[in-house]
Amino acid sequence: MSAMTIEKPWQRWAIRIGVFLAMLVLTVPGLWVMLTAFRPNIEVLARPAIWIPQNWTLDNFARLFGLSASQQGLPVAQYFINSLVISLTSTLVAIVIGMAGGYAFARFSFRGKGPMFLAFMLSRTVPGVALSLPLFMLWARLGIIDTSFGLILVYMAINIPFTIWLTDGFFRQIPIDLSEAAQIDGCTRWQAFWKIEFPLARSGLASAAIFAFLTSWNEYALASQLTRTTASKTMPVGLMDFTAQFTVDWTGMSAMAVLIIIPALVLTFIVQKHLIAGLTFGGVK
């Protein structure tokens, strides 16, 4: 870290309190969702608000999976599988293509390199929603509305430019001498990549993968347009199943939201070490 040091205890405490307050503001909505997932419906709209559930219940989750007597279940399991398949596939493809692209941008010079890189980046400035109508029409023509494939294609398109940008940065920070030394040591260019450059870029690739996965996992706007049924509906779209014409099943919705949050959270924790190493990469040399 930088050379800035905090001398006085009161300053340290001021910073801690500041961070705590900021985190409080950031996390309260999430916390509310978590708590609401475990409370009976009657508590939700109570006035004054009930913060800590007075009657903890798992009923909301039971209802989700159709285990409760009172209500028919939703196809949450199917949504979950769709989300998982779509996110993992699009992430995997984005990483493979993005890594190849990032490596090419970092290591080779070719015609139109600058403009191409710029074009990839500019594609990120277009809000996804703005594309939803043209995408819808195109996908309808191709007959891939309401298919996992259709959504995977969209998420790949979103994730690949970003992955290229990230991995380009990571490969750039690996001195080219290393690959050259490996080639002199007897490697082919391909071996030099897999034995030297790839292991060194692994942290970076892990962070790129997380970003790609979370983007696909949480995406709602386009998925809500391009999916219809359990054939391809993802978790965030599934949330809307809880809104009827005049009522919203807040507790059910919260329970499902928890199911969306947990895998993302678990994944982030697992690769956290890599993520931090990746984001503060540069220790090579």
């Binding site: 001195p175 030394a181 490996a182 080639q183 002199i184 040591d185 082919t188 034995k195 060194l200 040399k285």
Partner: protein
């Protein structure tokens, strides 16, 4: 046998030509140093020999093979990079053994060779460390170890010592020389430091702007530089160079001082020349080497004195320029003090002013 031959080697980046048709023959087991100012094409030339840079024109052969089309791994060379280029995610042991492993050598043999190299270079205590946890000098040794374990035909070095401090550089220079005496191989060594070149080389190749200016033993390039560039580049402090005009058997400096030209040198009257003499050929009376030939004497006030212990460098004005002289067995000298300097005429270098070439 691994002699290396460069035949009209050219390098172009697009339209920009940076190496202009170099010819060079390097003998088996010879230690050749490419030296020249930064940007003159030393690294490019070395990298073409290594196979890291495409050869635009001409041929390079190692032993009996033309290697132009061969990738680095098929040239049986090894290279020490300026940055060392150690694999950061591997221990010293794995760095040393990497090339052998790639070549599918049996583990016990790898172990044996790695240990040998470690022994030669004194790396024993660091074998399980990562490069990040080594000092600059230790990294340098690992880089050399990685190069020697593979037992290559040719060793290439690209400014291997330039990231070390002066003291360590001196030590490593000696080690490299010892290493060459022990592990007989052809060595091509690139540096911009003429001291390194002089001390290490069997033969020095002096380059400028993508051309070779002179090839010769350290003594040859020091005593008979072919042009003013080589004369100024080799030797420290550098050779004094003064403009002069030929008048009979004399060269007359800007301030009217006449210097007798070496006998046998026939020049035309009024020809513009450059007179070169090294600081050690220009010394206060009684503080010079034992000169046998003719000398001339001039009295000059000292502008600056730089005591170095065993000698003092004296700056005086001559022919309208500051020149440096070397005072052996020095005594205290104060600026402004007038001293009688003698110039050893047998060590005078005369160059043509227009072409810069030795006359």
């Amino acid at each position: 046998m691994a002699e290396v031959r460069l035949n009209k080697v050219v390098k172009r980046y697009g339209k920009l030509e940076t190496v202009h048709g170099i010819d060079l023959e390097i003998a088996h087991n010879e230690f050749v140093v490419l030296v020249g100012p930064s940007g003159c094409g030393k690294s490019t030339t070395l990298r073409m020999i290594a196979g890291l840079e495409e050869i635009t024109g001409g041929t390079i052969s190692i032993g009996s093979r033309v290697v132009n089309a061969l990738p680095p791994r098929e040239r049986n060379i090894s290279m020490v990079f300026q940055s060392y280029a150690l694999y950061p995610h591997m221990s010293v042991r794995d760095n040393l053994g990497f090339g052998l492993k790639i070549a599918n050598m049996a583990a016990p043999e790898i172990e044996k060779r790695v240990n040998e190299a470690a022994e030669i270079l004194g790396l024993g205590p660091y074998m399980d460390r990562l490069p990040a946890n080594l000092s600059g000098g230790q990294r340098q040794r690992v880089a050399m170890g990685r190069a020697i374990v593979r037992n290559p035909d040719v060793f290439l070095f690209d400014e291997p010592l330039s990231n070390l401090d002066a003291k360590l550089r001196g030590q490593m220079r000696v080690e490299i020389k010892k290493l060459h005496q022990r592990v007989k191989t052809t060595v091509i060594y690139v540096t911009h430091d003429q001291v390194e070149a002089m001390t290490l080389a069997d033969r020095i190749v002096i380059m400028r702007d993508g051309h070779i200016e002179q090839v010769g033993t350290p003594t040859e390039v020091f005593e008979r530089p072919v042009n003013v560039f080589v004369a100024g580049f080799i030797g420290s402090p550098p050779m004094n160079q003064l403009d002069a005009v030929v008048r009979g058997q004399m060269a007359v400096l800007g301030d009217g001082t006449g210097v007798p030209l070496p006998a046998g040198l026939v020049l035309s009257e009024g020809q513009q020349v450059v007179l070169g003499f090294r600081p050690e050929s220009f010394a206060p009376r009684g503080h010079s080497l034992h000169w046998e030939g003719a000398t001339i004497a001039v009295s000059r006030p000292v502008v600056i004195a730089e005591p170095l212990g065993t000698e003092t460098i004296l700056f005086v004005e001559l022919g309208g320029k500051d020149v440096q002289g070397k005072m052996l067995n020095p005594r205290e000298v104060h600026p402004g003090e007038e001293l009688e300097f003698t110039l050893d005429l047998s060590r005078l270098h005369v160059f043509d002013k227009a072409s810069g070439r030795r006359l």
